[in-house]
């Protein structure tokens, strides 16, 4: 998504400060030198002193606009920004959106949520589960070609064999 081009030999340092991951295919060029811009890309020219601001800008670019999903539990109804959900789970007739310590009942079908969050790095891992990639803590391969996803809240989600390929593709940069 991003490419960093610097006039001086400070590439690694600036990259770390920007928390930048360069990708082979990129749409944005970040540079401190106007001469290094690429005409067919979106160029961001910055000064080193503006690195924190550039970093926030990059956050906005990557994360996109906020998307809220409404759910309810025994404490009432809440609208939660989608990136705060760890995963969505179908239990019985209900769809639950699991947060760090609580879960909300969401009045949508799982496939509807999946369509809604398609650009938000959520991936279907089984017929009953939709996982936020950003909330995966560790991937642990299991037997029978399955994967166990250790979530940051301590829960474990399983990637079914039939969803494995799609999951791998979703992880690819």
């Amino acid at each position: 998504m991003f490419k960093l081009k610097l006039s001086k030999n400070e590439h690694r340092l600036v990259k770390e400060r920007l928390k930048l991951v360069e990708t082979p295919k990129y749409d944005y060029v970040l540079t401190d030198d106007k001469e290094l811009i690429e005409e067919d890309k979106l160029n961001i020219v910055f000064h080193n002193s503006d690195i924190p601001r550039v970093s926030r800008l990059l956050d906005l670019i990557v994360q996109g606009e906020e998307l809220y999903i409404t759910g309810s539990n025994e404490f009432g109804q809440k609208s939660v920004e989608c990136r705060n959900f760890y995963y969505f789970l179908v239990e019985g007739d209900e769809v639950y959106g699991v947060l760090r310590t609580t879960k909300l009942i969401v009045r949508m079908k799982l496939y509807e949520i999946e369509e809604l969050l398609v650009s938000k790095d959520f991936i279907r891992t089984s017929k009953f589960c939709l996982v936020n990639i950003g909330k995966i803590d560790y991937i642990k391969p299991a037997l029978n070609s399955k994967l166990n996803l250790l979530m940051k809240n301590g829960d474990i989600c399983e990637v079914n064999r039939s969803y494995l390929k799609e999951f791998k593709n979703a992880l690819k940069v």
Binding site: M1, K19, V21, T23, L58, D59, V62, Q63, D121, I133, G134, I136, D137, Y138, I139, K140, P141, L147, L150, K152, K168, L171, K172, V173
Partner: protein, 490 residues
């Protein structure tokens, strides 16, 4: 590789372990790859990846450990096994049939195949008869030359049971072996030459119905009442025949005793004979043809039973050594059979017989590593029999080192003194043992001789033992055995 082919179980386990290691390695690599991709994805998503790698490292450690654990265990087994000597238990093993013997032999062959065969070892079939001259006075002023006499014995010393006496006398008759007959002459006076003595009788053993091949008379033995004649054959397949003639009945044939094996030693006591034979086992033809040791008396064959054969763990099962006690008065035969080496030392006194054979300690995993020299140490097994009125095993003892010299053993009353050496090994240690009547070690000296000098020969006196060594000329040590329980180097 040959070891693996010969041990399919080990090969299967090895393949399984390799497969397990490969599979776990695959899991580890896959896990690392997935999490690396996840980390990169989080980077692109600008999501903070957990900096605490404890869990990841722990996982890696767990997987790696589970993969390596069986390999480490296997390596430990090999390392420990290779360092640990396979030592014998010193226990006797019960034999139930020929398969037991063949299994023991096969196990030995695996270890000893690249090693020298027992018959090529030092140590001839030497025995000492110490009881025939109990009143011999030993020279109490010994010198180095006395030791040399042990190497080149005089006529007064008896070395070897099988005296192969062709001419003996009992002060009544003179008995002379003439190939296939015994000439009995009247003993009138010592001044007569052998040819001048008047002939009384010529005895020719009747071998009809026995082994019908050329024979000679090996030796003759005489006591107050009996003349015993042992017959040897050209054909090694023939048995030992002992013809016993009654002197009090004008040399009438009293009995014929047929014993299996090759005669090793004979000792005549008053009214009895102790005979030791040896039967080498031909494992290629099997026990159906070999047969087991036996004796024939009055046309009745008595063969030893497998469960009556004595075998000590880690002795080489090369031959049967049979000890017969023949009661000439009552015509009774008692037999004990020991499965062991062919080249055992035999020592007999009035009432006891001692067999000294090699006992093998093997290097651990000698077979796996196909060691050229799998034997780590050699010890000796000393077996004691009571042969006064029959043959009875008394006890046995395992001692360090080996006897390299036939005179290195002597009985002192209830105690047995024996000198051994580890001369066959890299480090030379010489031992002087004293064993009690139950073959318990009551005393041992292990500081005899100079470094790298092994015992060459030993001379026993009533209160001293002279031990001669090989390397340094005229090198010997004196062991004071006045107190037999506490021998000391003088």
């Amino acid at each position: 590789m040959l070891f693996l082919l010969n041990n399919p179980v080990v090969m299967i386990i090895g393949i399984f372990l390799i497969g397990l290691l490969g599979w776990v390695s695959y899991l580890i690599i896959r896990e690392i790859q997935f999490n690396n991709i996840l980390k990169e994805k989080h980077g692109v998503m600008r999501v903070e990846y957990p900096k605490n790698k404890t869990f990841f490292n722990r996982r890696l450690g767990l997987l790696g450990g589970s993969a390596l654990a069986p390999v480490i265990v296997l390596v430990l087994i090999f390392v420990l096994g290779s360092q640990e000597t396979i030592s014998p238990t010193g226990e006797t093993e019960l034999l139930s049939d020929s398969n037991d013997i063949e299994m023991i032999y096969s196990k030995f062959q695996d270890y000893l195949a690249p090693y020298e065969s027992p018959q090529n070892r030092v140590g001839e079939e030497e025995v000492v008869d110490d009881a025939s001259e109990p009143d011999v006075e030993y020279d109490e002023t010994p010198s180095f030359s006395d030791g040399m006499e042990a190497m080149f014995p005089t006529a007064d010393e008896k070395i070897g049971w099988d005296e192969v006496d062709n001419v003996i006398s009992d002060d009544i008759y003179v008995y002379q072996v003439l190939e296939t007959e015994v000439k009995v002459s009247l003993y009138n006076s010592p001044s007569y030459s052998l040819d001048e003595l008047p002939e009384y009788k010529v005895i020719t053993p009747d071998l009809e119905d026995l082994c019908d091949v050329a024979f000679t008379i090996d030796s003759i033995y005489v006591d107050s009442n009996y003349l015993s004649v042992s017959v040897g054959y050209e054909d090694a397949l023939c048995d030992v025949e002992l013809f016993v003639y009654d002197k009090t009945n004008d040399f009438a044939l009293n009995e014929i005793y047929t014993l299996s094996g090759d005669i090793v030693a004979v000792k005549q006591n008053e009214g009895s004979l102790v005979v030791v034979t040896s039967d080498v086992i031909d494992y290629e033809v099997g026990f159906d043809i070999n047969g087991l040791p036996y004796y024939i008396l009055d046309d009745v064959k008595e063969e030893v039973l497998y469960e009556d054969i004595l075998y000590y763990d880690a002795t080489y099962p090369y031959a049967f050594t049979s000890i017969y006690h023949i009661d000439l008065v009552n015509n009774l035969v008692d037999m004990e059979v020991l499965l062991g080496d062919y080249n055992s030392y035999l020592y007999i006194t009035d009432n006891h017989l001692y067999l000294v054979g090699y006992l093998y300690y093997f290097e651990g995993l000698a077979e796996f590593f196909e060691l050229e020299s799998p034997v780590e140490t050699i010890h000796s097994m000393v077996v004691k029999y009571d042969v006064e009125s029959d043959v009875t095993i008394v006890s046995s003892s395992e001692i360090n080192g080996v006897m390299l010299e036939e005179l290195a053993i002597k009985e002192y009353g209830d105690y047995l003194a024996i000198a051994t050496t580890t001369a066959l090994e890299e480090e030379v240690v010489n031992y002087f043992y004293v064993l009690d009547n139950q073959m318990n070690v009551v005393s041992v000296l292990d500081t005899i001789g100079l470094p790298n000098e092994h015992i060459d020969h030993v001379k026993f006196y009533s209160t001293e033992v002279y031990v001669y060594f090989t390397i340094t000329e005229e090198s010997f040590q004196i062991i004071d055995i006045e107190d037999i329980l506490n021998p000391k180097i003088k």
